[in-house]
Amino acid sequence: MPRSTRRSGSSGTSTPPSSLSSPPSKPLFPTISLRSSSPSSSSNKELSSSYQGSTPTLTARSSLLNVLTRPHHSAPTTSISMENSTNNSSSDEDTNYSDQSTISSYASSIISGTHMIDKTNLTSEDIAKVYENYLEKPFVNTKSTIKHSEFGHCNNPNWRWTSQWNPDEPIHPAEEPRPPYFTLLTTYISYILLIVIGHMRDFFGKRFRPAEYAHLMPQNGYAALNSDFDSFYTRRLKQRLEDCFARPVTGVAGRTIVCYDRASTDENKTFNLTGTTTRALNVSSYNYLGFASSTGGCADAVEACIKKYGVSGAGPRHDASTLDLHVQTENLVARFLGQESAMVVSMGYATNSTTIPALVGKGCLVISDEFNHASIRFGVRLSGASLRSFKHNDVDDLERILRDVISQGQPRTHRPWKKILLIVEGLYSMEGSLVNLPVLIELKKRYKFYLYVDEAHSVGAMGPNGRGVCDYFGVDPREVDILMGTFTKSFGAAGGYIAGSKQIMDRLRLRSHATAYAESVSPPVLTQIIASMGSIMGVAPPLAAPADIIDDRSDTMSIASRPTAYGPAPTYILPPWMKLPLNLLNGTEGRERLRRLAFNSRYLSSGLRKLGFIVYGHRDSPIIPLLIYNPGKMPWFSQLMLDRLGPDRTPVVVVVVAYPATPLITSRVRFCLSASHTKNDIDLILRACDEVGGLLGMKYGKQTMSVEEVISNAEELVAASF
């Protein structure tokens, strides 16, 4: 099986990991081998049968009351699950397994320096004490200049994975997981109640407290800036969740983030900062590769750049604001993506909204996925092209539409379309689903449309070389006409890029609104892009440069030549003044980050599924949406993750999203994982979700493993295909 070769340790998991200080994690079921044909399914059956007997059936409400009335430090939910797994393993022959869970081993290794401490002796106070400095103090010792709070130190080579398409695993689940009807019903009722109550409040409010509605009413001859109808959703639904959004933060949005605590006395209309801050584990930022950092090689390069170039990109590119640094960045980006040419824009949103009008216009048709990002929709509207959208990721629907539009031609005149542009995203930021690229490439050959892939979230985050979905699926990037992406996510910078053939790029340089009228990218941001991208690629030793230059221009890549095509960056592409440390230059750091991210994503996604949550998206996706459904649970989930009931009391900040960003009923919490998270962090998130999700009754699916089982089986879960 190719799977096993993708793990960094050459042997299976039964050998203890070679790292010195991290706890060995043995499988719960030693019989599982990676090479067995269906490892997880058999183990799951066993697990579920042994587990279900002891499942604590707490209703959300009673446990909520329980939590609210109980003294501060005890933690019934977690202790239940711990007992549970202890019971479980004691019934098993091998009693040691429960001790392998990282929470106890993390605690024990700090308390006594040994792994052999009995967990039952650990009270929640002990655990809390151990976790006191969890977010700042590294568990393993590495010689890294990067702060643990920004980028977690984790050197266990078994906790790595390679993000690559496995044709045996479906790109999309055959059918979407569905919640019980009861949940759907209560969700709908919640919304109906919210709407009815909202309208009632508006009705009476306008009559009895007109002052508060003044800005919604016409006033001395001015129409209201914002009608009460348009703002109904914001005022009556979103305001109830207001505390979950736009929390002010400070510092780097890395592995952890520092939030300002705030409170509201007027029903979330305004917030007052309380003056204190909370450092929390950050699973909300799009920091996929952990390049958001205030220290380390990239930051040093940026500092050198500021000294040399200053901070400003000043005017538009086509006036005199194209720096050599812009050209260098564009060459590197093209090289990184395996495209001929690239162009950078100072804002990711504007990259879409200013280039799409330059590509299509009247008489052209844009076919767009229904869940495409707002910037794409904005761009299409500006372009004046006709628009059809197809059901999210549904290639059959797409083909139906293609046949329809090509055979019918333009409306009324039936003239053939000038060109048809299909716009999709590589990885959907609200769904965690991947585009079905191989099929799109097939369809493209048949239907002769042009393909535009927005890789805002997938570039850097997907593929064995981090080059995005093309890399992930093993598709030649030059089969895609336009690759778009942003630097705000994986690269910890800002802005976006467009890449494609030289001819198309030249066209865009002339016609894109951004080159003529928008500010150029600022030099420190460019440096961050070069440094982070260069360290993912690795930089070839100087001697290799001349050969590279020659075949750089001419080669078109094929899948067979892919490994060489995604080779290191030639030295001459980097600015001569830029000094990068060795681990960035030789690409080891970049590779390590890609593999850590891949492991983390797959681990959390699989783990949550095993815990009985409904999780959308592909398991390789670093975006993991966990379905909440009931709008009432959203603020609770967000708040409880921050307050944390479990003994470790480590706050976690999460993003909850609801209508209109998602369909009305499928409100969700979205985890964005990062290479900067350690396995311990993911364990912690799993525990937190288990505890809070259990409390709020969010396990809509069937739970097949307890949380401690999931944690001790992390590597098997990641390796298994299900």
């Binding site: 914002n226 933060v249 901070v311 720096l323 609104h513």
Partner: protein, 547 residues
């Protein structure tokens, strides 16, 4: 009482005498039935407007029973169309032609789309080839090749020399050490950093508005903030000379757009009056009305007559959206923009859009206005909601630049004296005199100066060629870097005339400015005054038109 009531009461009345013939056990049933009908009728009558419906149905039935049937049909049809309209797809309209699978296959085979990008024309290549690349840092003195000569940069907005300001570099490095570079998230999702909030407060207090909101790019700000407020059915009265970003914003808003002649306040009033008349005539709901204009117009450097606009806006009850992307950091005693220049309180303008990239040499843009206006954008402005927030260092540098502007009003005075000095050099070529070659509509206080040819050749392309020749001449003989104003020909709503775009900086030495003015003048005289050269250009142009 309505018609149904009376008809039912007669029904009930006739039911009573008939009851003698009806078997006794049925009587309670009948009476309960009548009371049920009564209550339903009563409830129906309580619905506001019900008498009208009843009267309408009754009278129409009396007049023409067929009409009622027809109307029923129409209603059913309307409902059907509405429901069907939901199923999307324009192809399924009237002109939909049913085809067999085989025919579709053939059509698919025959489909032959245009290439995604057409081949570049010589004019395109010419445009691309004339974009200079700056080697090393941008600023007052730049190089356009690795080992080339140093040029005085008159092409980059750098009003106060903030690009090379050491204080700002230091602030940026400090910010880097604390915040890194990217924010990795939109402002709604943990992307609101304290430095953003500080920058917003600084901008608001500097300009004198209640609040402000920052965006990560000024162009996107302009094109997204306008449609966040102006919707379909609203009225926008805009200056014909507004910049491209505003045009895009207007386009997205789908509002009802009325243009007034560029800079013409009489015409503005005329348009406002005609809108008012229209509204009076048609009646209808009160809609939002906006005036959109620029402080210093990006396309020609002209200044808006703000006091007059404010007066008109108040008189006709419009809201003013003022784009100060050029004038912020350039006009006024401290660089607060044209509100300061005219002494108009900033809170009389409903929305001030500004650029941090042009004005303060950092990056991003802002919208300043009332709390309600800014809060609205945080939720409803697409480019603010769906985009990562501004990198922290650009925000802190913005705050730092504002502090500098507040503390050093001499920055603005030296900018103004440089502008005056430069304009003085060119004044001989302007105006009505016999040997006038150029016209400069730009305001005498504007650091952004557009130079138009007085006697342009017939086509835009030719004109661009001549202007490029002036640019090249300046670079070769006087070591000046200037640029033609770059346009998106064929995408502009009103094609602006070709022009040269000059940005003066207060940071330039006086003798440099003087030399620059002289150099440019010489170049203009040489290129435009020289007929031989012009013929040359014509030939060249002809050669690539033929191509």
């Amino acid at each position: 009482m309505s018609g149904i009531h009376t008809s039912i009461s007669t029904l009930a009345a006739t039911a009573q005498p008939a009851s003698t013939e009806i078997p006794a056990p049925l009587i309670p049933l009948l009476s309960s039935l009548t009371s049920l009908i009564y209550t339903i009728e009563h409830l129906f009558n309580k619905v506001p407007g019900s008498p009208i419906i009843v009267r309408y149905i009754k009278s129409s039935y009396q007049d023409d029973p067929w009409r009622s049937v027809l109307e029923l049909f129409l209603l059913a049809f309307a409902i059907r169309t509405v429901l069907k309209g939901r199923t999307r797809g324009e192809g399924e309209g009237k002109s939909f032609i049913k085809l067999t699978e085989k025919e579709i296959d053939e059509l698919v085979d025959d489909f032959n789309p245009l290439p995604l990008a057409d081949d570049p024309t010589p004019a395109d290549s010419f445009t691309l080839d004339t974009v200079p690349t700056i080697y090393g840092p941008n600023g007052i003195k730049v190089k356009t090749s690795a080992n080339g000569k140093t040029l005085l940069n008159l092409a980059t907005p750098n009003w106060c020399g903030f690009i090379e300001n050491d204080k700002m570099k230091q602030v940026a490095i400090e910010t880097l050490g604390q915040y890194g570079v990217g924010t990795c998230g939109p402002s709604g999702f943990y992307g609101t950093i304290d430095v953003h909030q500080k920058a917003e407060a600084d901008i608001a207090s500097f300009i004198g508005t209640e609040a402000s909101i920052i965006y990560s790019q000024a162009f996107a700000l302009v094109s997204s903030a306008i449609p966040a407020f102006a919707k379909r059915g609203d009225i926008i009265v805009a200056d014909r000379g507004v910049n491209f970003g505003i045009h895009k914003g207007l386009q997205i808003s789908r509002s009802n757009i009325k243009w007034y002649a560029h800079g013409d306040m009489k015409d503005l009033e005329r348009v406002l009056q005609s809108v008012e008349r229209d509204r009076k005539r048609k009646g209808g709901k009160l809609t939002k009305k906006f005036i959109v204009a620029e402080g210093i117009f990006e396309n020609d450097g002209m200044l808006l007559d703000l006091p007059k606009v404010i007066e008109l806006k108040k008189k006709y009850k419009y809201r003013l959206i003022l784009d100060e992307c050029q004038s912020f950091g350039m006009m006024g005693a401290h660089g607060r923009g044209i509100t300061e220049h005219f002494g108009v309180p900033a809170n009389e303008v409903d929305m001030i859009l500004g650029s941090l990239a042009n004005g303060l040499a950092t990056g991003g843009g802002f919208c300043a206005g009332s709390q309600v206006v800014c809060q609205h954008q945080r939720i409803n402005s697409s480019a603010s909601v769906f985009s990562a927030s501004l990198p922290a260092m650009l925000a802190t540098c913005g705050s730092a630049a504002i502090d500098i502007l507040k503390a050093q009003p001499n920055l603005m005075t030296s900018l103004q004296s440089n502008i005056a000095l430069f304009r003085q050099q060119l004044s001989k070529l302007e105006g009505d005199s016999k040997d006038a070659l150029i016209s400069i509509p730009s305001d005498p206080n504007s650091g952004l100066i557009h130079i138009f040819l007085l006697n342009p050749p017939d086509s835009l392309e030719e004109e661009e060629l001549i202007l490029q020749e002036i640019v090249d001449e300046c670079q070769q003989t006087s070591n000046l870097l200037i640029t033609r104003a770059r346009r998106l020909r064929s995408q502009e709503v009103f094609e602006p005339e070709p022009s040269l775009k000059i940005c003066i900086s207060g940071y330039m030495a006086r003798k440099d400015v003087e030399a620059a003015g002289r150099g440019l003048k010489a170049a203009i005289v040489k290129v435009c005054g020289n007929i031989v050269n012009k013929v040359d250009a014509d030939c060249w142009f002809a050669s690539w038109v033929d191509y």
